[in-house]
């Protein structure tokens, strides 16, 4: 139980991830599905950046004015990559949603089943 309480931050991110997953699965609207996906991505980014944090640590900029401890630079760099990929996913998904609306006149998944 002690270990579980220490990791409260991580539990919060799992809950955020689940909120996003539920939006993705349960909502028929394609835009809301995309928002759910974005919430899931945010949860993962927050989780990984938090795992690189050190208590009382400074930003990893080593210019001689600050002496350690420094937060780990690796998760931050990886998540920067991840954010750009998330932007690309959002852009492509939005373009596809626009095209679906042009072709079918709706973006509700359950209505789209009947359009064929």
């Amino acid at each position: 139980m002690g270990a579980a309480l220490q990791n409260l931050d991580y539990f919060a991110f799992v809950i955020l991830f689940c909120i996003g997953l539920h939006t993705l699965v349960a909502r028929p609207n394609l835009l809301k599905k995309l928002l759910g996906l974005n919430i899931m991505e945010t949860a993962v980014f927050a989780f990984i950046v938090t795992s690189g944090m050190v208590d009382g640590g400074a930003a990893p900029i080593v210019d001689g004015t600050v002496t350690g401890p420094f937060a780990s630079p690796l998760p931050q760099a990886l998540i920067l990559t991840g954010i750009v990929v998330a932007v690309s996913i959002s852009a492509l998904a939005l373009a596809l949603i626009i095209e679906i609306y042009r072709q079918c006149g709706t973006i509700e998944a359950d209505e789209l089943k009947g359009v064929g």
Binding site: D9, L21, H22, D55, I61, P73, S88, I89, L94, E99
Partner: protein
């Protein structure tokens, strides 16, 4: 029924994740293996090996330059895919449905025009100081891209008369991959590996120039791509 199914999917994802994170070292614990082994190495040798005081930039452009190259290609591919999906096809509105005409507020237009040069200077500074201070190509590129989007809205210039002329924009959108190609081949010539950096104490200027070129390519390319994504989605 559908709700029950959704709840079951969420539960099936949540339970293993809760179990997994409960076993991790506490966040902020400086004794965790990730900090004592991986991060300590970067903090100790990063500045000497990469020449970048900002270790995030050092990791991004030097240790993991391949990852960053991949990321630049991903956003470029996203632009290509969005253009392919949206560039042909009927207009987004059905015939007879008029485009809603909303005039831009003169106050908003004036304030954006007034602040535009300062935003541009800030964006360029974030790009150029990326290896010394918080910032870098992506961040600065997003600032410049947002500025271009704002100006497009205020001046009402869409795809047919874009802020950046189309032939130039095509090259600017490819600035990221092109910068990586040039720096990668240059590294191949001087260090023997693709995207390699010349080693040794005398090569500091050269390494800084290579990183700066990557940052500029990423920043300019990012700004042009963001503007084009916006214009494609707005249409007309």
């Amino acid at each position: 029924m559908k709700r029950l199914l959704a709840a079951m999917v969420v539960a099936a994802a949540a339970i293993p994740m809760f179990a997994g994170v409960a076993g991790l070292p506490a966040p902020g614990d400086a004794g965790a293996p990730a900090h004592t082994r991986v991060a300590a190495r970067y903090v100790e040798a990063g500045v000497r090996e990469t020449g970048a005081q900002n270790l995030v930039t050092g990791v991004l452009l030097n240790y993991r330059a391949y990852d960053t190259f991949g990321e630049v290609m991903v956003i470029f591919a996203a632009l290509a895919a969005v253009s392919a999906v949206l560039s042909r096809g009927p207009p987004a509105r059905r015939p007879g449905e008029a485009r809603p005409q909303v005039e831009t507020s003169p106050v908003v237009a004036f304030v954006i025009r007034l602040t535009a040069p300062f935003i541009a200077i800030f964006g360029v500074m974030v790009i150029l100081k990326g290896h010394l201070a918080p910032g870098g190509g992506f961040q600065g590129g997003v600032i410049l891209g947002a500025l271009l989007v704002l100006l497009s809205v205020v001046t009402g210039r869409g795809l047919e008369r874009p802020l950046l002329p189309a032939p130039a924009a095509r090259w600017l959108q490819a600035a990221g991959p092109l910068a990586f190609a040039v720096v990668g081949l240059f590294g191949l010539a001087c260090a023997g590996t693709l995207l390699g950096y010349p080693a040794g104490p005398g090569a500091d200027m050269l390494r800084a120039a290579m990183m700066l070129m990557l940052e500029l390519g990423i920043g300019i390319g990012g700004a042009a791509i963001i503007l084009w994504l916006f214009l494609q989605m707005r249409g007309e």
